[in-house]
Homo-oligomer: 425 residues x 2
């Protein structure tokens, strides 16, 4: 049976999301997935861990939307009330699902822990609802069709929510959503400000608002990265894909080497791909970023093929002793300088016997800045016998965390440019 | 006239906040400020730029809360509909405010621009509402008392919203909120699952629901960390503080060394404080976490006083050459083993001449697991002449990112326990 599902709402359950400290981000992922099915997200809400409040919010959302997705409140503790609120809205009682109970017990057993008695609650399923398995946690999800709409209750932790949505919600929703699709592409750039990317891209993407299919473009900036998000909606997926691929190509050509990814890959993944291609192994010497560059590179599964490791030389002594940076070089130029970054890159490459070495030294703040080298000053170097070695001095805006994040991004980009031999300017 | 205002809701207006790319963050700032006045934020929503939808959402929020704050939708363009929705809810017409019109015109004149005619809309004020001046933009805010509640409409850009709230909303709300305050505390724990923390804490905090003042408790889990958030509301701030401090002490005593922070500090900050106190300098040798432990420790400003640096020994060669881990030790026990973690900790401590050394070696996945050492197996060691050296083998659940994050958290906790000489079990 196919119904015409058009509108969706997302409801995050959790008093912690009503404090000044946390914000709901699951809805961004869910919106993207719902959009792909042609569902328009018309509203999002956050409600406290209060059974009556959750039930009222679910009822109101179901009155406005065809699909309502809740996140959170499925845990074993007293303040987890989503399961009860769903039963209240459906007007049904609970049934214990013995298979579910066994799987929760087995989960604890695998970790060598006795199941706390409160977890037995999680095997209670509202009559008529379908329990959705959770491979990454104890909280099962719920799929519950009522009054012509669908209510989907998912756990709050992203690593539980996402695989559950992909495996158990997406196929069920796809069956109900007839034909309409929304397709997206992303062009990721680095080393350019948001206004510079906008200046290049805007004359191009505005013409797409009159094209058939219409392509919408959104520009999105994060520290060290500006992304262009393209989307198009219609019935013919292949036609949308062709139009979007052509659009991406035009933007890529206009943006030049600043565009590093059109296939969703992160900058670290792109760098990893280039290292793998050249069969290069890299080592890094990090001062102000103190391991965050290697941390970012090794986020990529399989990175042991092209990362040997490195030295975190936070103290100057370590730069001298572990990396053979001449003490006179530091005395003459300062620890944050192009010659020291270069010596760090060469030192770590020699010590770890790798093809490429990277050096990062900078002032992340809040203290340590001087008039000539204020907080945010970072020197970066990439060195190796098979490449054109480079060294750069840059100045990043922002606080300690932002400076460190931008330095990691700039170092990744420098490696990328060295490996693709692209101009750096 | 003083009324008893207790509950607030926040409503973000803007279709862009219903895409996969943007999330509302104004509500975090607003929640903090409203909490300080003793207002409990009970709900947050996002609605599209649709006059009827905004009006319906405002009406529903006013039925639940004493104070409703909207953000966004006050601009001059067609899709800015908050002003109209406010008038719809109040059931009033508009009046032009000549002073407001003059100030908007003057704003354009100062920039040498003629005011676009569409901006004249922004001088239209719903009858009975007070227009709130906007020094950083053209969109005035609105203060509108109705049906015993207050509706406050603020512009969306943070640099317009915040100064307007401070200058024009806070004093008005303070007059209406008779002295009530909301105070918070957080108890952070590590090394225990959410259910285990709940088992210990629940019998304690449920009694506080009947106490005077009432203390509400929320439990919040992140990888390697479970937090208890306490809050109490009332007129007498000193009395609330005394009650909360006593409550925190009881939880701390019950949870024992698993509780690492009651003052908001992160685990890395707590570890840094302990190192500073003992005047110890630390070095780390990281394999599977590849720099993330040092990255986390150096997030703390001033960490150069107690972090020398370290070695990222991703490849076994680096473990042998840079850390002097005997190659026979790796052959006999495997790279992920207690003896190798210990040798890494001792090696990095010797190499970098520090007081303490930490070693981490593990299998983050997705590949590399074996039957006896599946993905998630991590060996951790802390070693130094002035402390009781320890080594542990643990198994974390989850994917690559989660295993690495939990390994960092466990390593931080191991350092903390060694420095406080707390039992580790």
């Amino acid at each position: 049976m196919r119904r015409s599902l058009r509108f969706a709402e997302i409801l995050a359950v959790g008093s912690e999301l009503l404090t000044p400290f946390r914000t709901d981000t699951n809805s961004l992922y869910l919106t993207a997935r719902l959009n792909e099915l042609g569902l328009d997200v018309r509203g999002k809400s956050v409600v406290a861990d209060d059974r009556a409040a959750v039930a009222a919010a679910v009822r109101a959302a179901l009155a406005r939307a065809d699909v309502v997705v809740t996140t959170g409140g499925l845990g074993p503790t007293d303040d987890d009330v989503t399961r009860e609120a769903v039963a209240d809205v459906a007007g049904v009682a609970f049934e214990e699902d013995p298979a579910l109970l066994a799987s929760i017990e087995a989960r604890f057993a695998r970790r060598g822990i006795r199941m706390p008695s409160i977890n037995a609650r999680q095997a209670q399923v509202p009559t008529g609802a379908v329990a959705l398995p959770n491979p990454n946690g104890t909280a099962p999800g719920l799929w519950c069709e009522m009054g012509g709409g669908v209510l989907i209750a998912l756990p709050g932790p992203p690593r539980e929510l996402k695989p559950m949505f992909e495996a158990h919600v997406l196929p069920r929703l796809r069956d109900l959503c007839a034909g309409a699709v929304l397709r997206r592409r992303t062009v990721k750039t680095t080393g350019r400000s948001e206004s510079h990317v906008e200046e290049v891209a805007q004359p191009i993407y505005t013409t797409w608002l009159q094209s058939d299919p219409v392509i919408s473009t959104t520009i999105l900036a994060a520290p060290g990265q500006v992304e262009l998000h393209l989307s198009a909606q219609g019935d013919d997926a292949a036609r949308l894909d062709r139009a979007l691929d052509a659009a991406v190509q035009r933007l890529h050509a206009a943006l030049g080497p600043a565009a590093f990814s059109v296939d969703g890959r992160t900058l670290a993944e792109v760098v990893g791909g280039l290292l793998q291609e050249r069969q290069f192994v890299l080592a890094a010497a990090e001062s102000c970023t103190a391991g965050l560059l290697l941390g970012a590179l090794t986020e990529v599964a399989g990175s042991s093929a092209w990362i040997a490791g490195g030295v975190v030389a936070y103290a100057n002594d370590v730069k001298v002793q572990a990396l053979d940076v001449p003490v006179e070089l530091i005395a003459a130029h300062g620890a944050v300088s192009e010659p020291v970054a270069q010596a760090m890159a060469e030192g770590v490459r020699r010590q770890l016997k790798t093809d490429l070495g990277v050096g990062i030294t900078g002032i992340a703040g809040p203290t340590g800045g001087t008039e000539s080298k204020p907080v945010g000053t970072v020197a970066l170097a990439v060195s190796g016998p098979g490449v054109r070695s480079v060294v750069r001095m840059v100045r990043f805006p922002g606080d300690r965390a932002m400076v460190r994040q931008m330095a990691v991004q700039a170092a990744l980009d420098l490696i990328r440019r060295v490996l693709t031999d692209a101009d750096y300017n």
